[in-house]
C-alpha cells in the first residue's frame, strides 16, 4: 500500500499535463473562430473555450468523464448508444477468445512437456507466430470465416483474440509443468504412480501459479485482439466499432470514451483474475 501516494501524484500530474495539452491543442480553433468574428479573446476566455468545444482535437478529461457517464449510467443498457451494450459485445468475444486461447495453450503445453518431437517442431513456430503482426491476418480471418459460412460475427474476433492470448499461456504452462524438480518426480515414481497420476497430483498443481500469471497477460492480450478484430472490419457493435464509427463521423468524444471504456474493462478483467488467483493459491496453500 506504500505506493498509493506516488501513484496518485503521478496520476494527478498526468491529468494536469492533459489539461495543459487540451489548451495547447484546441486553442488554434478558438483563435480562428474569434478572428472570424473580429474579437481578440483574453487568455482566460481561450482556456474556457478550449475546455468546452463540441468537437475538440483533444477533449478535456472532464469532457471524457462526462461522456462516459452519459453513455453508461444515463443510457439504458440495451440502447445502441450505451457503452455497456458495446462493452458487453466486446467482452463476449474476448471471453470466447480467451477460453479458446487458454485451452489451446494448455493443450499444446501438455503435448510439448510430454513429447520431444512436439517441442522441437511446435515451439519455434509458436514464437514465430507471435512475431507475425496479427492485424495483417485479421481481415483475412473475417473473410475466411464468412465464406465458410460462419454467420456469427463473434467467431472471427474470438479467433484473433485466441491467437494473441494462447502464447503467454503456452509459455507459462510449459514453465509451470516443468517446475517440479527431479527429486519430486522420483518420489512419485517410488510410490509407483502412473504417468496420469503424477500429472494430476504433481505437475498440474505446481503449474497453477504460473498459469495465473500468464492468464492475466492472456486476458489483456485477448481484449487487445478483440478490439483489433473490430477495428478494420466495418463492425458496427463493440468498443472497437465505436472507435471506428467515431473516426468516420469525426466525433472525438466517441473515440475517447470507447478507449477509456476499453481500459476500464481491461483493468476489471485483470483485477478479477487477480482476486481468483489469490483465493485459489490460498486454498492450495501456495500463497506467498
Amino acid at each position: 500500500m506504500k505506493s498509493i501516494g506516488p501513484v496518485l501524484s503521478v496520476l494527478i500530474a498526468l491529468v494536469a499535463i492533459w489539461y495543459g495539452a487540451t489548451v495547447w491543442m484546441n486553442s488554434g480553433w478558438t483563435y480562428d473562430q474569434a478572428e472570424r468574428k473580429g474579437l481578440t479573446p483574453s487568455f482566460s476566455e481561450v482556456v474556457q473555450d478550449t475546455m468546452n468545444q463540441k468537437r475538440p482535437r483533444l477533449p478535456a478529461p472532464h469532457q471524457v468523464a462526462e461522456e462516459l457517464w452519459k453513455t453508461t449510467v444515463e443510457k439504458k443498457v440495451t440502447s445502441k448508444r450505451s457503452l455497456v451494450f458495446h462493452g458487453w459485445i466486446t467482452l463476449r468475444a474476448t471471453l470466447m477468445g480467451f477460453a479458446l486461447g487458454t485451452a489451446l495453450g494448455i493443450a499444446l503445453a501438455v503435448a510439448i512437456v510430454y513429447s520431444r518431437v512436439m517441442e522441437m517442431s511446435v515451439m519455434p513456430w509458436a514464437v514465430i507466430s507471435q512475431t507475425i503482426p496479427i492485424v495483417a491476418l485479421a481481415p483475412m480471418i473475417i473473410v475466411l470465416s464468412s465464406s465458410i459460412g460462419i454467420e456469427d460475427r463473434n467467431v472471427p474476433k474470438a479467433i484473433i483474440s485466441a491467437y494473441l492470448c494462447f502464447f503467454p499461456v503456452l509459455v507459462g504452462m510449459v514453465k509451470g509443468l516443468r517446475s517440479p524438480d527431479a527429486m519430486q518426480l522420483d518420489l512419485l515414481r517410488t510410490y509407483g504412480a502412473s504417468g496420469i497420476t503424477s500429472f494430476l497430483k504433481l505437475r498440474l498443481p505446481t503449474s497453477v501459479p504460473y498459469l495465473f500469471t500468464s492468464l492475466k497477460i492472456g486476458i489483456a492480450a485477448a481484449l487487445v485482439g478483440t478490439i483489433v478484430g473490430e477495428l478494420p472490419t466495418g463492425a458496427i457493435r463493440g468498443l472497437g466499432a465505436r472507435i471506428l464509427i467515431g473516426d468516420q463521423f469525426g466525433n472525438p468524444m466517441m473515440i475517447w470514451s470507447a478507449l477509456f471504456a476499453a481500459a476500464i474493462l481491461a483493468g476489471a478483467l485483470v483485477t478479477i483474475l487477480g482476486i481468483v488467483q489469490n483465493i485459489t493459491l490460498k486454498r492450495m496453500g501456495m500463497a506467498q
Binding site: V7, V117, V224, V228, P232, A262
Partner: protein, 275 residues
Amino acid sequence: MIWVIGAILIWLALWALNIRLARRGHRFWVPVIFGFAILVLWEGTVRGLEISPIILPAPSQIAAKIATSTDVLWGDFVQTVLKGAMSGLVIGCAAAFAVSILVDRSPFLQRGLLPIGNFVAALPIVGTAPILVGWFGFDWQSKAAVVVVMVFFPMLVNTVQGLKESSAMQRDLMQTYAAGYTTTLLKLRLPAAMPFIFNGLKVATTLALIGAIVAEYFGSPTKGMGFRISTEVGRLNIDMVWAEIFVAAMVGSALYFAVVILEKAVTFWHPSQRG
C-alpha cells in the same frame, strides 16, 4: 481426392522423419520440416478440395503472386516498415529509455510510474490510431506516432525494472571504488538492466509492426501494407493479401531474431544465454 490423400501421406512421412530427427537432436531441421509439412498439407487440401482462390489460395499461387509483384511489395515495405514502424520504434524506445533514466533517480516517481506503466502497457493502445491519424495526417508521421505510443510503456516498464536489478552489494562495491553516479550507471546498472531492456525490445518490435499496419486502416497514402491489405480484401484479390501477410511475417520474424542475436552478443554473461 488424390491430392488430399497424397498430402496426408507426405505429412505422415515427414512427421515420422521428424520423430527420428528429434531423437538425434536436430534443433534446426525439425521445425523447418514441420513448417514444410504444413505447407504441403495446405497445398494438397486446396488443390484436392478445389477451394476457390477467393477463399484460400494455395501456397504456390501466393508464391507466384509474390514473384510477379515485388515492386509493389517493396514500395509497401518501405512505406510501412522503414518509414512508419522503424522511425516510431527508434523514437519510442529512445524516449522511454531517456524517461526511465530520469525516473530512476527518484524512487518516489518509480513507485508511482511502475504500476501505471504496467497497466497502460496492457491496454489496447492501438485504439488511439484514429486519433493520431487525425492529428498527424495521413502520411507515415502518424504511423510513427502510433508506434511511439505503443512501444513507449512496455519499454519504460522494462527499463525501470532492469535498472533496479543490481544488488546492494554490487552498488556498494562501486562505491568503494569511488565510482560516481554516471560511472555506476554505465559500468554496472545499465549492463545489469540489459536482459530487461531486450525483453522490452522484443515486445516493442512486434507492437511496432502492429501499430504501423493498423494505423494505415484509418487513412494512408496509396501505398503501405495495411492500406494494401484493406483495399485488396475489398477487391477479393486474396492472393495479394496473403503476399502482404507473408512479407509482414518475414519482417516480424526478421526483426525479432535481429533483437535475439543482438541480445546474445550484448548479454552473453547472463545465465539465460549460457545454454
